[in-house]
């Protein structure tokens, strides 16, 4: 019931986001069809504007975008305009004139999802054990070493990691391709470039959280009861300590799944992240609004998933 309510609440929220995204883009300077070469004639410019309904008042354009606009046809009967957000149609792309926004998302999103998912797994698989290890060795060399690695990973942005990885493993050693997309071997370097930063962040979260948890009373109680240290760690401490990591994972996953401009551009990966940035520069309005909505919906859903996983992990949380 609770989840149903949350999902229903998403509808007005998505509408509101679409309204602001659409309105803000209309305020942006420049025109989507401004370019080096002027159209051959005024007639052509007008026909392009008419084709994409850019000659209408922007509120009407927005209603058309939503699909909540009724127009009279030749015989004078009222018809709802075809397509629109309400039926899941995000409109045509202004820049890639053969494609609709839905087409482009259908092509590019699976790539970003794949890369994001493996980078997410990579970040978790490196970050959690590293943080766990550092916390266990608190104040000793192991801690310093683990924390140093984690800080290093956080401090070097993907913008630097990507080219460095390419230089070492691709140009010098020739183990991996320096870019493009295809067989799994193409995904290795981008995965590391994308996931390394987050693995450092997760390691630090994990370490802090585990240290805090180890000081709480129920751990002392468990120790007093004579439970073995490994059982305390695995059964009691870890479950609670991993919660901040889990709540961080929701937005993180949304972030990773919707693609990273930096990594996708550096490795020439046909994902959605490149479109996210370029569509704004190109003033490709339907594309930008579509991607903003995609990102918003993913974020909302993943937050919901995080709340749900809380109820599984933390015995104190009941929804």
């Amino acid at each position: 019931m609770y989840f149903l309510k949350r999902i229903l609440f998403m509808v007005p929220l998505v509408l509101l986001i679409s309204f602001f995204a659409f309105g803000l883009l209309k305020l942006a300077p420049g025109g989507p069809f401004s370019q080096q070469r002027a159209p051959a004639s005024e007639a052509i410019r007008k026909s392009i504007e008419a084709k994409y309904h850019l000659d209408e008042p922007w509120l009407k354009q927005y209603l058309r975008y939503l699909g909540l606009l009724w127009e009279r046809d030749a015989s004078g009967r009222l018809h709802r305009v075809s397509g629109g957000l309400i039926v899941g149609d995000l409109g045509p792309s202004f820049k890639y004139r053969d494609h609709s926004v839905n087409d482009i998302i259908a092509q590019a999103l699976p790539v970003s999802l794949t890369l994001g998912a493996i980078a997410f797994v990579f970040a978790q698989c490196v970050g959690i054990p590293l943080g766990f290890y550092a916390a266990m060795r608190r104040g000793r060399w192991g801690d310093y070493f683990g924390s140093f690695i984690a800080i290093l990973a956080v401090c070097i942005p993907p913008l630097v990691v990507g080219p460095v990885l390419i230089m070492i493993f691709s140009i010098r050693l020739g183990w991996f391709p320096p870019g493009l997309w295809g067989t799994p071997i193409y995904a290795v370097l981008p995965m590391i470039a994308l996931g390394l930063f987050y693995s450092g962040k997760i390691a630090r979260l994990m370490r802090e959280s585990l240290l805090n948890t180890l000081q709480s009373e129920f751990i002392t109680t468990a120790r007093a009861k004579g439970l073995s240290e490994s059982k305390i760690m695995a059964k009691h401490a870890f479950r609670l300590a991993v919660l901040p990591v889990v709540s961080y994972s929701g937005p993180l996953l949304a972030d990773l799944l919707t693609g990273s401009f930096v990594v996708e551009a550096a490795f020439q990966i046909p994902g959605i992240g490149v479109f996210m940035v370029n569509s704004m520069l190109n003033l490709d309005q339907p594309m930008t609004v579509g991607l903003v909505l995609l990102y918003a919906i993913l974020l909302l859903l993943l937050n919901l998933a995080v709340d749900f996983s809380y109820s599984l992990l933390d015995p104190r949380v009941r929804l």
Binding site: G30, Q35, A38, D98, L113, G179, Q268
Partner: protein, 540 residues
């Protein structure tokens, strides 16, 4: 979900790093150079570009007759020209295609290339409703009669451009705009579309129905889009691509090193980098001010220190190497004359000269050039200028709305005739963007284009250009572009460079060299590449 990660596809015979992702496959809509490379492999017109000099050479038309006044062409089509479906290509297909390209509803920015046809512009702008009045008529299935508004000496080059290519009538009539999504994709060129995945690659496969299929050697060709210069050079250097075909894909910082490589080829290119003045804003309303600013710029320094890709400094707008035309010299570098002119205009040593802005868009050298101009005008003339960078779309919007003082500009010619450069500054051109309107310039261009005699025509165009670059200066040129391409001449043949000014290439001319002498690509040679590499033609 993992489908994105587990593709196994055969390697293409030729992999081209093609620059920015193409916008469309529709030959009548595209405008970008990268788009044209892909689309010219899929579609053909009456003629095609010669790899040696960019001339229009026979393609679907095997020969043509030209009337003595140069205003009527009779094209004789090949009887074996066929669509990728196997159906014959007829003269009627061309009539349909040209009407479509001209129709404002198609929304093609390049429709202007068909305005040279009689009633072309009138049909486009709606002055003429009946398309049968257009000067293109099918006399029979394989004969096309084309009537022109003026004698148009570059018509055969125009016919090779995508805007005049033949497109499939049945598919377009049935599916409208959606015809480009049809698979198999109906096309008329040497290749057919295998697939196109956005930002991944467009793959084309040899078209067995193409009339010249016997001379088309490569079976599969990949066009790989890439926006980042560093990524592109990595992909090329590790052997994941065979040709790197966009100058913007070469990192400017590495140009000095890259240009010494034997696989790096630079060539003259039909483009000019120039500066626009907004002549409607004071003090740029005064031609003396504009001349002073132009004379104070050391262009040689800009090409030597900033662009470094083999560009030549320019004093005239039209690049050298045009057919039947010798561009006039414009203003050179003369700071003393510049100071005198500025004093005459009422600003001795830049006194009282208002602070002004230089508008530019993101691009490899634009900012550096802005800084250089800023310094030159400050030291030579005592003028203060601010730099303002704007995103592409904002930049072009501001430029066309005359919302600037001085502005970075460039123009790429479409054919080897001065008209492609000079007609942008006629008063009613949407590309003028300076506010400059000169009745005498307009008259000279109009007169020139109606002139059948090539020498007289050249003289008129020269007078017009003198007005532009010597007398009135709504603009002043900085340098002519050069093209740069990376590929190993030991492996590939048929990529014409020097002499092919328009830089249009049909991939079906590219062939693999039979006897391959392996030369390590990663080695940077300290010498200029050998002159006998078989790629360069010196007849220009």
């Amino acid at each position: 979900m993992l489908s994105g990660c587990t593709r196994r596809e055969p390697k293409a015979d030729l992999r081209i790093l093609n620059g920015p992702e193409i916008q469309s496959l529709d030959p009548h809509i595209i405008t970008g150079q990268a788009d044209m490379r892909v689309v010219l492999s899929l579609f053909e017109g009456l003629t095609r570009f010669s790899p040696l000099n960019g001339d229009g050479i026979p393609a679907i038309a095997e020969r043509w007759d030209i009337s003595p006044n140069g205003k009527t062409y009779i094209f004789h089509l090949r009887t074996n020209a066929a669509w990728s479906t196997g159906d014959p290509i007829t003269a009627e297909d061309f009539v349909f295609s040209w009407r479509r390209a001209l129709d404002a509803r198609t929304g093609g920015d390049y429709a202007a290339l068909l305005f040279y046809i009689k009633n072309g512009e009138e049909f486009n702008t709606g002055k003429i409703k009946d398309p049968s009045e257009l000067g293109a008529k099918a006399l029979d299935a394989h004969t096309l009669r084309v009537e022109l508004k003026n004698p148009t000496p570059f018509l055969l080059e125009l016919c090779a451009s995508p805007a005049l290519a033949v497109v499939p009538k049945p598919a377009i009539e049935r599916y409208g705009d959606k015809w480009v999504q049809l698979r198999p994709f109906p096309c008329s060129g040497a290749y057919t579309l295998e697939f196109w995945r956005l930002n991944d690659r467009a793959r084309v496969r040899k078209n067995p129905h193409y009339w010249d299929a016997t001379n088309t050697e490569l079976e599969l060709v990949d066009f790989i889009p890439c926006d980042s210069a560093n990524t592109a050079i990595n992909i090329y250097a590790t052997g994941h691509a065979d040709v790197l075909w966009d100058k913007n894909l070469l990192p400017t910082d590495l140009l000095d090193v890259l240009r010494r490589r034997p696989d790096c080829h630079s060539y003259d290119y039909l483009g000019t980098y120039f500066i626009r003045f907004n002549v409607t804003r004071k003090p740029f309303t005064d031609p003396r001010v504009r001349k002073a600013l132009a004379l104070a710029v050391d262009k040689e320094r800009i090409v030597k220190r900033i662009t470094r890709g083999g560009e030549k400094s320019a004093s005239h707008l039209t690049p050298d190497g045009m057919a039947n035309y010798q561009p006039p010299d414009g203003l050179g570098y003369d700071p003393d004359a510049a100071r005198r002119l500025l004093r005459d205009a009422g600003y001795p040593n830049g006194k009282d000269f208002p602070r002004f802005q230089f508008l530019f868009n993101p691009g490899p050298a634009n900012q550096q050039i802005g800084v250089e101009l800023q310094a030159m005008w400050r030291t030579e003339l005592g003028l203060e200028m601010d730099l303002r960078q704007a995103e592409q779309k904002v930049f072009f919007d501001d430029q066309s709305k005359l919302n600037y003082d001085v502005c970075r500009s460039s123009w790429i010619g479409d054919y080897k005739d001065p008209n492609t450069f000079l007609d942008i500054f006629i008063s009613n051109s949407g590309n003028n963007r300076t506010g400059w309107a000169s009745p005498s310039y307009d008259a000279l261009i109009a007169q020139a284009n109606a002139e059948p005699n090539a020498a007289k025509r050249a003289k008129l165009l020269e007078q017009a250009e003198i007005l532009l670059v010597r007398d009135d200066l709504p603009i002043f040129p900085l340098y002519f572009y050069s093209g740069l391409v990376l590929f190993d001449t030991n492996h590939w043949d048929g990529i014409g460079l020097q002499g092919n000014l328009v830089d249009q290439h049909n991939v079906n001319f590219i062939k693999r060299k039979k006897s391959v002498v392996r030369r390590p690509l990663s080695v940077v040679h300290g010498v200029e590449r050998p002159a006998d590499d078989g790629q360069r033609t010196t007849d220009n």
